[in-house]
Every structure is written in structure tokens, then in C-alpha cells.
Amino acid sequence: MENTKLLKLKNNRFFESYKTQISTFIALIILCIILTFLTDKFFTGKNLISVLRQSSINSILAAGMTFVIISGGIDLSVGAIVALSTAIMGDLVVNTGINPFLGMFIALVLGVASGAIQGLIIAKVKIPPFIVTLGGMTIWRGIALEYVDGSNVYGLPDQLKWLGGGDVFGLPAPVLVAMLVYLASWFLLKKTKFGTYTYAIGGNEVAARLSGISIAKVQILIYSFCGLLCGISGILIAGRINATSAVVGTGYELDAIAAVAIGGTSMSGGKGIIWGTLLGALVMGVIRNGLNLMRVSPYYQQIIIGIVIVGAVSIDAIRRNKK
């Protein structure tokens, strides 16, 4: 009896471990099929590409959020860091006239720096990430607004515009960037010490520390990485709307958290895979797109997205509790 039990475990491990993600994937497929029947436009190459483009920013932010949440934390400052990096970059590039590539570099540095500062405070002062990033959320946006004095910048150079609107063999640049981000994230989580430590800290911080892991270093890296992805998103947004503003990105952190949750990552840390988050972001993108095509009012859309978030996590929880 013991042997058959063990055998069964072995065969089922893949499905057992990725159950949530597999069902999210199936849900995504079903959703696409339904929308194909309900609307004429959904299943067209042009629309599908546009779903990907619309999902790219949230996907990228959610990838960073996945690291944070796996490590047992949360980052509420994501939207604000996006605004900080995009607004200052736009001002420097358009109003001061610096080289656009230098501007992009500055956006990335701003993202990493604000993330690192938060990580440092979380790790060294030992304040819950919720509080630190809640504070960060208003501080970063405050700095951004103050810096540009609340005004917007229009008309960006071509290099930036290309990143937002250009394409390679038909694939929009932001989608390509998102794909790279996901490959890199997968690699980091699965193939590096940093990734393993991220899971370890979220799974059991004490045991991780007693294994000689420097918790502070890993935490600072995690929040910096999340900040870096905010910087990248800031650049892409600027390119796409051909403008920068200190008020973009409001609520982006919540979309990112939602994608992570739908993707099956445990909110208490230690568990999750990056592809789940990608699926989560795509589910949200497809639903938004479908509702737009069906001309559902934005108010209803909010309600529906909310139901999907709670529903997806509930189904998962109910199934787990049954066991």
C-alpha cells in the first residue's frame, strides 16, 4: 500500500503543484472561446495583439510583485514608483533636452533606488512591508508631483515612442519587453541563489536566517528588482501615450497584486510560480478587452473584475480546504 501511495504521489506531483495555474490556464482558454462566440472582433489577430499590448504593463509590474509576495511581503508603492520614474524622465528628456537613452537610464535608476530604500527600511528597521510601501506610495508620488509641479509633458522623442508603440515582426515592443521580463524572472526564481532565497525567506524566515542567508540583502534585492520593473513600465507607458505625467499608475499596484493572486501565488509567501502570474495578468487583460468589445460600461467592468479576483482565489481556497 505504501508503495502505490508513493508512486501516485510521484506521478501527480506536476499536477498537484501546479493545480491552480493549470486551472487558471483552462479558465483563460474557456474565456477566450466564449468571447470568440460572443463578439465578432475578439478572435482576430489585431485584437489578440492588442490584448497582449494592453496586458504588458500589468504583467511586468505583477512579475516584480510576484517576487515580493513570494518573499512574504507586499509592495503598495508600485504605481507611485512608475509615476516617479516616468514623470522625471519625461521632464528631463523633453524640457531639459537630455539624451533619451540617458533619460531611460535615469528612470531605471529611480525605480531601483526607491525600491532599494524601501527594502532597506523593511530589512533593517524591521517594519512590515505593508507600512513601508504604504508610506512609499504617497512619498514617491508626492516627489513626482512636486518635481513636475503637477504638469504633464507631451511630445517625446522617437526612441521612446517606439518602445511604447513600435513593433518587431508584428509583436508590439512592450509585449517583447514583457516576454523578456518573464524569462528573466523565471530564470532568477528557478536558477539562482537569489530566487531560492526568495522562496526560503517567504517560507520560513527564521530557518532561512539559521541557514546563513542574509535576509536583509535578499529583501533589498527583491524590492529593488520590483522597483526596476516599475522603471521599465514607466518608460513603456511614456512611449505609449507619448506623454508623461505624475498622475499615471494610480492603482497599478492593486492590479499587479490581483494578477499574482489569480495566478495562484500564496499571499502568505513561500509559494508561487512566475507563469501563474502571467496567466493572471492575461486573464485580467482578456476580461477587460472582452467587456470593452461588448461595450460593458467601465463601472460594471470594475465590479466584474473584482468578482473575478475574489472568485478565482475562493475557488482555489475551497478546493484546498476540501482536502
Partner: protein, 504 residues
């Protein structure tokens, strides 16, 4: 339900042919079990034998797939824990179900707050809590916060809570695991008191010593199967027989200690002190030696080993490794000096339970299997495979999550972790706590093998037989300092206890 008078000796709870199946597993297979009023019935079995499933079936947390359950002779279908409580079945689990920031009375009445004129009748609550605490011979103040109580007192509050719910059947799940020797004796007094009043106690334990003192009958489970119910004579149980029933084979020797000729001195500690507790601790340790550290809970044993490892660095004193004075302020520095710590609490401190076995094994030595930040998967896998094979970790796959392993196997994963980073000084804090008998012997054998291979071992243990049998030398601690050192051939339980109490 109609009230029946129950006399001592009446069967108050019965399980007939109870089977519980989970998908792919038969957790309980045709179990026979009954409990009489006024007896202590011990459930004995290794981890995974089905003890917890059996309890959960009693308390309504699981429903049996087949079979009948009777309470006071009547067939019942226990719906959920609340229903179980109404039937007079109360349980005290290893992990307490108390709310730390409520007071004792509020905890005892949690969910059943008495009302008077629509508001909570605080006066009655306190009065009644005092009564039930009296029943267990405890004088805890009902108005203190549970959080401020020690473990033993919290356990009393749990028992009082069960009694307040009018439990006639009291299930105690390894109650002694968290208690000191003294507290255990107190607990036994309480149990005897309750038994005399006609309460039937189901007592779960691994410790044969305790069964000797407390049990009237013992039911042995193995691999989910009912093995046998034995009536036992107090203070005269046949330990070997019980172990044989439990593991299904004879264990000739509990403690297969091999003597190793100690080698060079590998660790010396001089005047290690902390502001909080430790006072001028000095000792030395040789290769191949197993140094036992005895003492009561709170004597500073865990603090001492954590100071040596760097988890809670000392405030003053010297640590000398292989003749060189070293600074150890963090676990990382401890590891660099080839020290490994297997902490007391595997769940909270030892392993990342929700990660795979191979990751846990490599956790402290990822540097060794990585090129810069990148993990070399081949090396990673081969270290995990080597170590788990060497230490005989039983698992279908190294990708299994650690939380699915038994306590004994988890301890082997902890040891694998330290061997993977080539630790030469292994500190084992309560190495066999919560591990079943069969696996204990395996851990002892491993300790022998490690000592033979020249590793130096420090073993902190509260189990005197283990301490005496496995140590080459014993240090006893009392209130933060070493109260005595005993040489092999010179130990006895009495001597250790006296030193631990600071009386020698």
C-alpha cells in the same frame, strides 16, 4: 439526549470497525477502540500510525468512511467539533487553541459567554473559571492575559476550558511534549484527579516512561491499523513488548552507542556570557566526541548553542575553533567556521517546510553548488542525492515538500543540510523531540556514524536516558551557568537532576 448515570468502568466511548479513507490512502483501517469512564487509555504508535486521524474522528474533524461510533452506548454520527463538544468530547491539542490577548476567563468561555440582561455576565465567568481551575488544582488568576502565562499554565487553561464544556471524554495530544519534568508530574496529578471523578482520558504519547506512570490500557496503532489493546500494570510495563507492537520488530537496543576515541580539540569556549542569561561558560570539545548538555528548560542550553552558532551572539567571551580565536556574530560566520545547528523546533527554525527536500538540503551551502549567482543544477542535484542517500532520508523524490515528511525524516534533512556544507561541529538541540521510536534509533545511529567520521557533536537533551546513553561527557546547566560536568561512567539520572536544580 437522555441523561444516563455513568459509573466508573462503564464504556463511554466506542469505535467499531472504523475505517477512514483519504484519496489514495487508508488512514484508519478497521479500528477497534473503547474508552471507559475513569481510565487513562494511551494511544501509542509511530508518526503516521493514525493517531491524529483517530483523534480527529473522535472530535468530528473527520468523518469515518465506515464503521460505527458510540457514545454512552448510543450510535452517534459526530458532525463537527461543536457536536463533539455537546457529546462531552473535549480535546487539548499540542498546539493550543487559546487567544493570547484575552484573559483566562474569556478563553475558558470563548464562544459560550454567559449572558445576564443581554450583556456578558463577567462575574459568573470569573467565578466558574475559578471552579474549573480548582478542579485541576490550579490557582491561576482568571483575569490575567493568557499571553503572560507559561506553557504549563496555558495547558491547564486548555484543560479547564474542556472541563467547562462539561467534557467527560478528554483527549490529550502529546501533552508532555512542551512540559518540563516537574510540570509533567503536576499534569499527571491533574489527570489522576479527573480520572477519579469519572472522566475518561485518551492520552497520546511517544514516551514509554510516561506510559509506565499513567496508563491503564494502551492501544497500539501501526500504519493505520489496529494492532492490539493491552492492559498494563502501572510502573511495570513491558517496554520492549510495546516497542515491538509499535514498530513491528524487536529493538534490541534503544541506544546503540559506539565508543569513539576522541581526536584533537576542535572547539573551545571561554567565558561566554550574555547580558540576559549566560554566565562565564567555558568548555572544550574534541573531534569524534558527543558532548551532552543537560539542564532544565530555561537554564540557557539553547541560548548557549545559539551563541556558539552565531544566531544569538554572546556579549563577551571567546570562541576558539581549531586553535584559532574566531568571531561569530551571525549564523553565516558560524557556518564558515564549520558549525551547524539543528534547532530544537524543526518546524519553526529548522527547515522551510513548504520547500522541497533538495532545496532544504542545499540551503546553507548554495555557494558551493553555484557559479556566482547561478545555481549549477547538476551539482545541486548530486549534493541532495548524496546527502539524502547517506542519511537514508525516506522519500519517493527529492522534489517532495519537507512538510510531507515525518519528524525523523525531517531531522535527517536538517543533518543533511549541515553535512552538505561540511560542518565539523554539529549542534543538535533536542535531536529526537517529536520523533517516533524507530526513527529515534536511526538518529542515534547517525550520531554514531558522524562521531566515527570525526565530527564533533554537541547534544542538548531533556531526555535523561538519551543524554546518559549517547554522551561521552555531560555538562549540566543551571540558570545560565555550568553547574557541573560528569564523566562517562559517572552519570546517573539523580546526579544530573541535582546539578540541573542547582543543588550540587
Amino acid at each position: 439526549m437522555k441523561e444516563k448515570t455513568v459509573n466508573i468502568g462503564d464504556v463511554i466511548f466506542e469505535m467499531e470497525n472504523v475505517t477512514k479513507k483519504f484519496p489514495g490512502v487508508v488512514a484508519l483501517d478497521n479500528i477497534q477502540f473503547n474508552l471507559k469512564a475513569g481510565e487513562v487509555h494511551v494511544l501509542l504508535g509511530e508518526n503516521g500510525a493514525g493517531k491524529s486521524t483517530l483523534i480527529k474522528t473522535m472530535t468530528g474533524a473527520h468523518k469515518p468512511t465506515e464503521g460505527t461510533i458510540k457514545v454512552n452506548g448510543e450510535v452517534v454520527h459526530i458532525e463537527d467539533p461543536i457536536h463533539a463538544q455537546e457529546l462531552g468530547i473535549g480535546a487539548v491539542y499540542q498546539e493550543f487553541n487559546l487567544v493570547p490577548f484575552l484573559d483566562v476567563a474569556q478563553n475558558v468561555f470563548l464562544g459560550k459567554e454567559p449572558k445576564k440582561n443581554g450583556v456578558i455576565d463577567r462575574e459568573y465567568m470569573i467565578k466558574r473559571t475559578k471552579e474549573v481551575l480548582n478542579m485541576v488544582g490550579s490557582d491561576i488568576d482568571p483575569t490575567v492575559m493568557v499571553e503572560s502565562l507559561g506553557v504549563a499554565s496555558q495547558q491547564m487553561v486548555e484543560i479547564a476550558k474542556a472541563l467547562n464544556a462539561d467534557s467527560k471524554i478528554l483527549i490529550l495530544d502529546e501533552p508532555s511534549a512542551v512540559l518540563t519534568e516537574k510540570e509533567i508530574n503536576k499534569l499527571f496529578e491533574v489527570i489522576e484527579r479527573l480520572v477519579k471523578k469519572g472522566v475518561g482520558v485518551v492520552y497520546i504519547s511517544h514516551r514509554l516512561e510516561e506510559i509506565n506512570v499513567i496508563a491503564d490500557r494502551v492501544t497500539v496503532l501501526r500504519d493505520g491499523q489496529y494492532i492490539e489493546t493491552v492492559k498494563v500494570e502501572k510502573n511495570n510495563i513491558d517496554k520492549n513488548e510495546l516497542v515491538r507492537l509499535m514498530v513491528g520488530r524487536q529493538l534490541d537496543d534503544f541506544f546503540p552507542k559506539h565508543d569513539v576515541v576522541p581526536g584533537e580539540e576542535i572547539l573551545r569556549v571561554e567565558n561566554l556570557s550574555t547580558h540576559k542569561l549566560l554566565k562565564n561558560i567555558s568548555f572544550s570539545l574534541k573531534q569524534g566526541e558527543i558532548l551532552g548538555i543537560g539542564g532544565l528548560v530555561g537554564a540557557g542550553r539553547t541560548e548557549l548553542v545559539k551563541a556558539i552558532f552565531g544566531a544569538e551572539p554572546a556579549d563577551s567571551g571567546k570562541i576558539v575553533v581549531k586553535g584559532k580565536e574566531v568571531t561569530i556574530r551571525t549564523p553565516k560566520e558560524g557556518i564558515l567556521n564549520r558549525i551547524g545547528l539543528a534547532p530544537e523546533d524543526r518546524k519553526l527554525e529548522g527547515l522551510v517546510q513548504i520547500l522541497e527536500i533538495d532545496k532544504n538540503i542545499n540551503m546553507a551551502s548554495l555557494d558551493k553548488v553555484s557559479n556566482g549567482p547561478f545555481i549549477n543544477e547538476q551539482k545541486f542535484n548530486s549534493v541532495a542525492a548524496d546527502m539524502s542517500e547517506k542519511l537514508k532520508v525516506k522519500t519517493p523524490s527529492l522534489k517532495q515538500l519537507v512538510c510531507n515528511l515525518s519528524g525523523g525524516n525531517q531531522q535527517k534533512v536538517v543533518l543533511s543540510k549541515w553535512l552538505a556544507c561540511e560542518s565539523e561541529i554539529l549542534i543538535l538541540d533536542e535531536p529526537t523531540r517529536g520523533i517516533d521510536v524507530g526513527a529515534k534509533v536511526e538518529v542515534y545511529s547517525l550520531m554514531n556514524d558522524l562521531a566515527k567520521a570525526g565530527k564533533a557533536i554537541i547534544m542538548v537533551s531533556s531526555e535523561l536516558p538519551e543524554l546518559i546513553a549517547m554522551s561521552d561527557r555531560i555538562l549540566v546547566m543551571h540558570e545560565g551557568s555550568i553547574s557541573g560536568e560528569l564523566k562517562k561512567g559517572d552519570y546517573s539520572q539523580e546526579k544530573i537532576l541535582k546539578l540541573a536544580a542547582g543543588e550540587a
